[in-house]
């Protein structure tokens, strides 16, 4: 990537890594700066961010059933006596 302003193409190519916080702080800052001044890219990034937030919220609602948890605990502790 050249010095100076990040282009739309560069910013969108880095969008996934930026959203996953897997860029170096320097690169993340440049992508952020691009979204701050480019409305179409900002909207694109915002759609992706909200989509990922919905996906996470939908998937994280479930918990291991209590019965399974207590069955497992009993089996693990039962191993003490074997």
């Amino acid at each position: 990537m050249s010095a100076g302003h990040t282009t739309c193409r560069e910013a969108i190519a880095l969008l996934e890594d930026w959203l996953k916080e897997e860029l170096t702080p320097e690169l993340a800052g440049r992508v952020r700066a691009h979204f701050d001044r480019c409305r179409p890219c900002f909207r694109h990034a915002e759609f992706e961010r909200r989509f990922l937030a919905e996906l996470e919220a939908a998937g994280r609602g479930e918990r291991c059933p209590d019965q399974l948890r207590s069955d497992l605990l009993r089996e693990i502790r039962g191993a003490d006596r074997d």
Binding site: E16, R50, R60, E62, L68, I76, D80
Partner: protein
């Protein structure tokens, strides 16, 4: 006796914090509640049997997920595994997903339900489904996912990109059919 107690105590401390995660991932792999419960149970008992091979201080989450995945593949997977084809980085990422333009008021996010989203995740081919679950639902890093799946980080990223594209296409098609968002203009 004391040694064995200490051993299972360590095991409990390492494994119990990850039970919810193991259950959720098992649900998405098996797409079935009773089979998911069996898979979690088998995973934990295998982990207990192999606890001596776990390196203290290393990543218990990745270790458990590797056991869960291997157990799923060897005993729970139904039907033939169909590998997905990937064209590495051949995609024009600028023009691929301008969906936001079709939904200026955010109706898509206001109306889509968790059940509909999880249904779309479960409809993905397994190679795509597992990266979405581990990355976007469980929040694991590219490196950690690569370790569990035993594939290069680049493969994780390509699969993730393609998986999200499919998910969005599926969900947006539904949103359009419900009249929540405008169909995208052709061309």
């Amino acid at each position: 006796m004391t040694d064995i107690r200490a051993r299972t105590g360590d095991f409990e401390a390492a494994v119990l914090p990850h039970l919810d995660l193991l259950y959720r991932v098992a649900r998405r792999y098996t797409r079935d509640t009773p089979r998911a419960e069996d898979l979690v149970q088998e995973t934990v008992l295998k982990a207990l049997a192999h606890w001596d091979s776990f390196r203290p201080g290393s990543n218990a989450r990745a270790w458990l997920l590797t056991i869960l995945r291997n157990t799923f593949v060897s005993a729970y997977r139904k039907g033939r595994h169909e590998a997905v084809a990937l064209e590495p980085e051949a995609l024009d990422r600028v023009s691929t997903r301008p969906e936001a333009a079709a939904d200026p008021s955010g109706e898509f996010f206001a109306r889509i339900t968790d059940e509909r989203i999880l249904g779309a995740v479960e409809a993905l081919p397994e190679d795509f489904r597992e990266v979405v679950v581990l990355s976007d639902i469980e929040g694991m890093s590219y490196a950690e996912i690569a370790k569990v799946l035993e594939v290069p980080i680049g493969t994780v990223k390509s699969r993730l990109f393609r998986a999200r594209q499919r998910l969005q296409a599926e969900l947006l098609e539904y949103a359009v059919s419900m009249g929540w968002v405008r169909p995208r203009a052709a061309g």
